[in-house]
């Protein structure tokens, strides 16, 4: 009972509310680097994530619960465990990895078909723009067949997590969309 009331109270006033955001993508795309770029504003040395990292950050008066899930083939099947109650998905793509663009596209579309993610906004980071030979945002968009997406607010932003370029722009867009949807 108490829980019911307190959660009703929370819901009415929007206190303590957290937005769940997932960061997904193939292994080595830069998900963990982006997460800590957001959290501490620095580049941290990362190891392949076995499992997940989760950080809570406050951005524009919103409490964000950002989940960075490991991208290795063995862990991808468990992404679905985290879909419930997700406000937005950040999909990170390694723009230099042309060979695996098709796999990334497949994973992305498969994920978006999930019932639980129907209302989630999608932000794609075409990451590693600092590297030579990186595809541009529009090229990545084409490779990922983002144009096929219907009934979903999505955007693609060219970024470099190492240099910190494009990350805040992307997030700003995402927050705007999510705020609109939530309120």
């Amino acid at each position: 009972m108490g829980n019911l009331f307190s959660s009703m109270f929370d819901r009415l006033w929007g206190v303590n509310k957290e937005l769940r955001i997932l960061i997904l993508g193939l292994d080595g795309a830069g998900k963990t680097t982006i997460l800590y770029r957001l959290q501490v504003g620095e580049v941290v040395t990362t190891k392949p994530t076995i499992g997940f990292n989760v950080e809570t950050l406050t951005y524009k008066n919103l409490k964000l619960n950002v989940w960075d899930l490991g991208g290795q083939t063995s862990i991808r099947p468990y992404w679905r465990c985290y879909y419930a109650n997700t406000a937005a998905v950040i999909f990170v793509v390694d723009s230099t990895d042309k060979d695996r663009m098709a796999i990334a596209s497949k994973e992305l579309h498969m994920m978006l078909q999930e019932e639980e993610l129907q209302d989630a906004a999608l932000l794609v980071f075409a990451n590693k723009q600092d590297q030579p030979g990186a595809l541009s945002a529009s090229e990545v968009s084409k490779e990922l067949k983002l144009a096929e997406l219907k009934d979903r607010s999505w955007s693609i932003v060219a970024s470099s997590a190492i240099k910190g370029e494009g990350i805040t722009e992307g997030l700003d867009w995402l927050i705007d969309v999510v705020k609109e949807e939530q309120l």
Binding site: M1, N3, L4, S6, S7, D10, N16, K17, E18, L19, R20, K47, T49, I50, G51, F52, N53, V54, G70, S74, I75, Y78, C81, Y82, A84, N85
Partner: protein
């Protein structure tokens, strides 16, 4: 009116049922993935609650796991608890927790670091173990001693779960270096961890050497750590030998204060260490530690009965090495009316061993005490008390001059005779004890004889095999009136009697062959060779039969039956020196309660290859079969000169022995060619089959 209002309110305020029709798990899952932290935490609490009452909440594993990453330590603890409980049923999902474990192992909060590393080494999932190296190594070097202590223990856990991994990661070296840690708590736990590993595989750690080289640290750590760590350290100290008497003295000096510890396990472990080092001291310095040990043991007698039992079992071991240890403390071991039976039995045993034979007054007091015990009602206790009377009498008589000895034995015999008449149900045991005393001093036979010889129907008085056996022995030894008639009762029921009784009948009939009619002797010999399954009795009968058929049979039988029995010196059972030595090393462990050395508890590692093992198994069974075959056919017992030069059991039989020779590459073929098949059976003792297999194995 009130009631109406209440009813109205009850109807108006509707409480939603806690569990919706979608089920409890659904509700909990919803709670676990809620957007609100408080709701999630409540849901975790509910889940753990369900888990502890035994409901299967494992389907929630992924959802609970999501909550592992939190700064709330309480919530973290709950999730860890859940993960430990269900990791085995969901090994594949554990991989999702790896990253969190690794991150937590670097958390600024030492408690969280500990929790992470502890949980990680507890989960029996290979995927987790693959990632344990980094965090474990880091925590072993942690700034916080509590974390180091935990990490040190985790190495042993890791070793238990995956030996190869632990060795290949070289964790043991790190562990050994932790012995030099500045924190004594860490040192104590390192020793515990090393001991565990050493017990699992003694080839990995040179534990005795390590203890030897760190003896000073350990002695310092002893007073700093918790009682259980203390026990471990004491155990470690007991395993190593002191260099010289000075070090031994130092060890004893450091350990002695712990004899006053409230935990009996600490006390017994301290006793173990002291006993181990006591022999190294010069004899004039031994007295003080011995006194301290004796005081400590006395204090253990005021603990609850279960602990008393353990203490008594250990005292029994100590008493054999130091008979004088507790001789002044006899009264504490007197049985109290409310002691449980198992304590009473041990106390009885201890008292007889304890009593000092030079102190007549003490012995007499104990005898009176035992007499009281023999009047109790618990059968096992009374039996043991009756035994104890004869044990005490023999112990005293052996150590003292003949006049006081006779006096004491007479007194004991008197008590036993009274008991024999008074206590109908314990006549067997009384008779056995009386016979023990008579074997010690046969002059005293006039006391019990009138009672025993007055029995017309001994079979109704005696129940046990040993009782009957002793009765028949008395019949033969003291020539009762109507002995023939009394013996006849037993001969008639020969086939139904136990092993000892049958043997005793045979011996007595041969002994009394002069008085008995010839037919009786023939009859018994026939019975003993045809009616019994027992090999010893059969061979014994064969032997007598052969003796009787020799030319000077009468003389031979006379000599055989009047042969002097070796005098009894003690009827108390003693440990063999080797057993005593190993038991003293293992005081306060299970082996000191079972009186079995530790090596017998462990499954022996198979040394030879499986093929060889199989061959040996087959050989053993072949040997068994062969012996059985030989026994079933006509057995020829040869008492000629041949029997003297056959030390090994030589089993001869067609194919089996050929295979044996193939396997063992027998060179001495002459053994095989011997025409006679023999088994060495001396004085009715059969060489057991596996014994012969062992002999063959020696050849191998």
């Amino acid at each position: 009116m009130d009631k109406k209002i209440k009813k109205f309110l009850k109807d108006a305020v509707r409480v939603a049922p806690k569990v919706s029709n979608k089920g409890e798990l659904f509700e909990l899952r919803n709670g676990l993935v809620s957007k609100y932290p408080q709701t999630r935490k409540d849901a975790i609490k509910k889940t753990i609650q369900q888990m502890t009452i035994g409901k299967d909440v494992s389907p929630l594993f992924p959802d609970v796991l999501k909550n592992i990453a939190t700064s709330d330590i309480e919530q973290k603890k709950l999730v860890y608890l859940y993960v430990i409980n269900y990791a085995q049923t969901h090994p594949e999902l554990c991989i999702l927790a790896v990253n969190t474990f690794v991150t937590d192992a670097q958390d600024p909060n030492p408690l969280i670091r500990c929790m992470a590393i502890r949980t990680m080494s507890m989960i029996r999932v290979d995927m987790i173990l693959d990632h344990v190296e980094g965090p474990l190594r880091k925590t072993l070097q942690d700034d916080n001693p509590y974390v180091r202590k935990t990490a040190v223990l985790c190495v042993a856990k890791l070793f238990h779960l995956n030996r190869e991994l632990c060795i290949s990661l070289n964790m043991i070296t790190d562990l050994i270096s932790a012995l030099d840690d500045s924190n004594l708590m860490v040192v104590a736990n390192t020793i515990a961890s090393l001991t565990d590993i050493y017990e699992m595989d003694s080839s990995v750690v040179p534990l005795p050497l390590l203890i030897q080289s760190h003896i000073t640290q350990l002695l310092h750590a002893l007073s700093e750590c918790t009682e259980w760590a203390r026990i471990t350290i004491l155990g470690a100290l007991a395993q190593c030998d002191a260099k010289d008497s000075i070090q031994a003295q130092d060890i004893i000096g450091r350990v002695t204060p712990h004899l006053q510890h409230v935990n009996p396990a600490v006390v017994l472990s301290s006793v173990k260490v002291i006993v181990k080092n006591l022999d190294l001291l010069p004899s004039e310095l031994q007295k003080q530690p011995t006194d301290k040990v004796s005081t400590a043991l006395v204090s253990l007698m005021s603990t609850p009965p279960e602990m008393q039992y353990v203490a008594l079992r250990n005292i029994r071991i100590l008493l054999q090495k130091y008979p004088e240890l507790l001789s002044k403390e006899l009264p504490i071991f007197y049985v109290k009316f409310n002691d449980p039976l198992y304590v009473k039995l041990e106390k009885l045993d201890i008292m007889v061993r304890l009593v000092s034979t030079s102190n007549l007054k003490q012995c007499s007091l104990l005898l009176a005490e035992l007499r009281e015990y023999a009047m109790e009602f618990e059968p096992e206790f009374v039996l043991k008390a009756i035994q104890a009377i004869s044990q005490l009498a023999i112990k005293f008589a052996y150590a003292n001059d003949s006049t006081s000895a006779t006096k004491f034995v007479t007194k004991a015999l008197d008590i036993l005779c009274t008991l024999l008449q008074d206590r109908d149900t314990f006549q067997d045991e009384c008779l056995v004890s009386i016979c023990d005393l008579l074997r010690y001093d046969s002059q005293l036979a006039n006391l019990p004889l009138p009672i025993v010889s007055s029995w017309t129907d001994a079979d109704s008085h005696l129940v046990t095999d040993s009782g009957k056996c002793n009765y028949i022995w008395m019949l033969g030894q003291y020539r009762f009136p109507n002995a023939e008639e009394k013996l006849q009762q037993f001969i008639d029921t020969f086939a139904q009697q136990g092993h000892s009784t049958q043997l005793s009948i045979l011996l007595t009939v041969v002994k009394l062959s002069r008085q008995l009619p010839d037919t009786t002797l023939q009859h018994v010999l026939k019975l003993a060779t045809t009616e019994t399954q027992d090999i010893d009795i059969r061979d014994m009968a064969m032997l007598y039969w052969r003796c009787l058929s020799l030319p000077n049979a009468d003389k031979l039988v006379e000599d055989l039956s009047n042969a002097k029995l070796p005098p009894l010196t003690s009827t108390l059972d003693q440990f063999s020196p080797e057993l005593l030595h190993s038991l003293l090393q293992e005081l306060s462990t299970l082996s000191s309660i079972y009186y079995k050395p530790l090596s017998q508890f462990k499954r022996r590692t198979v040394q030879h290859s499986s093929v060889q093992g199989k061959a040996l198994d087959e050989l053993t069974s072949m040997a068994h079969a062969e012996i059985a075959k030989n026994l079933n056919s006509e057995t020829l017992l040869d008492l000629d000169s041949d029997s003297t030069n056959v030390p090994n059991a030589n089993i001869k039989g067609g194919s089996a022995l050929e295979e044996l020779s193939d396997l063992f590459n027998f060179t001495g073929d002459s053994l095989l060619d011997k025409p006679m098949q023999k088994m060495t059976i001396q004085e009715g003792k059969q060489v057991p089959a596996n014994g012969s297999a062992k002999d063959l194995m020696d050849l191998f």
